[in-house]
Subunit: 329 residues, 2 copies
DNA sequence: CCCGCCTTTGCAATCGATTGCGCAGCACCT
DNA sequence: AGGTGCTGCGCAATCGATTGCAAAGGCGGG
């Protein structure tokens, strides 16, 4: 308790509080003495008491909206990587990280942890199909930032990769390798994937390649569906020599589907993934993919959110994707 | 604020508090009225105030000790899966989940979030090399549970797979497939892996197969090292027809190393993984592996911890592993 | 030597909910 | 009618820290 430390230091509780908080009202000499005593006795301020008095929880909620593919989505290596990096970034700023699952169909899930005062602000990983809900929450002034696509006229701050460019790079790479029948695998309803898809179409158009509807598969993030859909496609006899996948997970699954259908990767079909998760370089064949800068992204997310919490203005930001060429193309 | 609700309901704050907490001191009629009013006004008790008064945070810390392979480890799909399931289980019990990174070399990291009153108890995923630190903390009475191996005379509660049996099953499976030169890949210093290794040795001994030191590779969890070590091994000309890997991640990496060295999986070498992460069934070839029951494990972890927090006795528990045969053997 | 100013510290109210204890009201019994 | 036992609710202290305001102490100037 603070009063114990105060007694030991021979000062009042106010002084201890201010010394520990680094207030300029306390002389350097006193502060050092107090701090030393607190350390020696293993004292740490009670966060509940502090939160109550200050009205701030000093905690950031991290949420992953998954209306459709529940755990599938979460266990995608990309989310795990992002979460690990967020944990580091949040802790590095002295904040705590509250991990919150978003239950299906829960109304105003974005603000729930905030208005219940459990967290000061939130970081949402991925827009999923929740853009509208997010936008409305932003209009209501809920402090949060999103990892995902930047959409026209959105009211919230988002950090993410330039997905359009990423999709374009992936597709152009295949085209340069001489591919003309290039499939796109991903759930375009998710804004990030939608952008990647637009990039894909643009690259095709730039090279005067006709975009074939049959080659554009609507696949929720899960690898299951990718596997089945692609197998079906190949079996249907449609010609195909390239695949742009919306995630590395889908890409790996696609490689398996192709191989089991008797097609060789990369000889017959080139496959490009998206994310460059750790696993991407260990698969067989190692995956050509579009790298997203997760670590800097995590830091940006945290810093933007803290800026918003401090009342400063914050802008959305897009990071440049990078093509990483490996053996799958 | 509670006083607002009290005023609206025409009762005292005490009554509101008790009604919302479901105290038996309040008549059913009054409780319902109060609850309804609270709901209509979107009122939720201030967690900071409650924590302060009750001395409990109603929060569980989840920690992943990673002295050696920092993020590598975390991004292993197994941890992500476990974390996702823990988030569900913890939230289902009405608790909050605080995700805490364990900084390198930090002293008494287990109790830190607890004695700072940020969490009531902790769940540690994986013993890593921290068994001693964990055991000491348990002796000091820190409330926590661990996912990992059960060691002789340990003082903490652990939930986990029967790793010895798992290692034995994996190895026996390869032996049944006619393999005799079976390698083991994993960091045996981690208790879970050590147990798996003992199971491996037991299976070999039971079949009168000599265990060859050269085939037992000390590999930290990362896939990098697995790839290199195994490539080196193959290049050195040692004969080899089976691999037992300490994780699916290592197994995948091993498959790539073998394939690139000109060996075919499963024709020349059979590979068995451990965990059965989602990705394991999508790789090429799909991975034969030892399945760990993550979801029930997560629920057990949470319930045991809550039991400990409630002052009830709790026992360690081992779950039966299951061999899942796919195409890699 | 006295006064006023600045620096440093302490007093006490406050954040929002919980809970031990006491009391009012009512039913029931003798 | 008075006594007894419950049930249901309110009073007020309390959890541990923060902070506006006041005051004490030190210092220099007149």
């Amino acid at each position: 308790m603070m009063s114990d430390i105060a007694a030991l230091a021979g000062v009042s509780e106010s002084t201890v509080s201010r010394a520990l908080a680094g207030s300029s009202l306390i002389s350097e000499k006193t502060r050092q003495r107090v701090v030393k005593i607190a350390q020696r006795h293993g004292y740490a301020v009670n966060p509940a008491a502090r939160s109550l008095r200050r009205g701030l929880s000093h905690t950031i909620a991290v949420m992953i909206p998954l209306r459709h593919a529940h755990n599938q989505h979460f266990s995608d290596a990309f989310f795990a990587d992002m979460l690990a990096n967020l944990a580091d970034a949040v802790n590095a700023r002295g904040y705590d990280l509250l991990l919150h699952r978003v239950s299906e169909g829960e109304a105003n899930w974005v603000e729930q942890p905030i208005q219940s005062r459990r967290a000061d602000g939130a970081i949402v990983i991925g827009q999923s199909l929740e853009h509208k809900a997010l936008d409305q929450a932003a209009v209501r002034g809920v402090p949060f930032v999103v990892w995902g696509a930047r959409l026209p006229e959105q009211h919230y701050v988002s950090i993410g990769t330039d997905n359009f460019l990423g999709g374009k790079l992936a597709t152009e790479h295949l085209i340069q390798r001489g591919r003309k029948r290039i499939a796109f695998l991903g759930d375009r309803r998710a804004p990030e994937v939608g952008e990647r898809h637009r990039g894909y179409l643009k690259a095709l158009a730039d090279s005067d390649i006709r975009a074939d509807r049959k080659l554009q598969l609507e696949i929720p993030f899960g690898a299951d569906e990718a596997l089945r859909s692609l197998s079906d496609l190949v079996r249907s006899g449609v010609s195909l020599d390239g695949v742009v996948a919306a995630s590395d997970t889908i890409a790996m699954s696609a490689i398996r589907a192709l191989t089991e259908s008797g097609l060789k990767v990369p000889a017959d079909v080139g496959v490009v993934g998206f994310d460059d998760v750790a696993m991407a370089s260990y698969t067989l064949p190692p995956l050509t993919t579009i790298r997203q800068e997760i670590a800097p992204g995590a830091v940006l997310l945290v810093d933007k959110l803290l800026a918003i919490l401090a009342g400063e203005p914050a802008q959305s930001q897009q990071m440049k994707p990078k093509l990483v060429v490996r053996a799958s193309t």
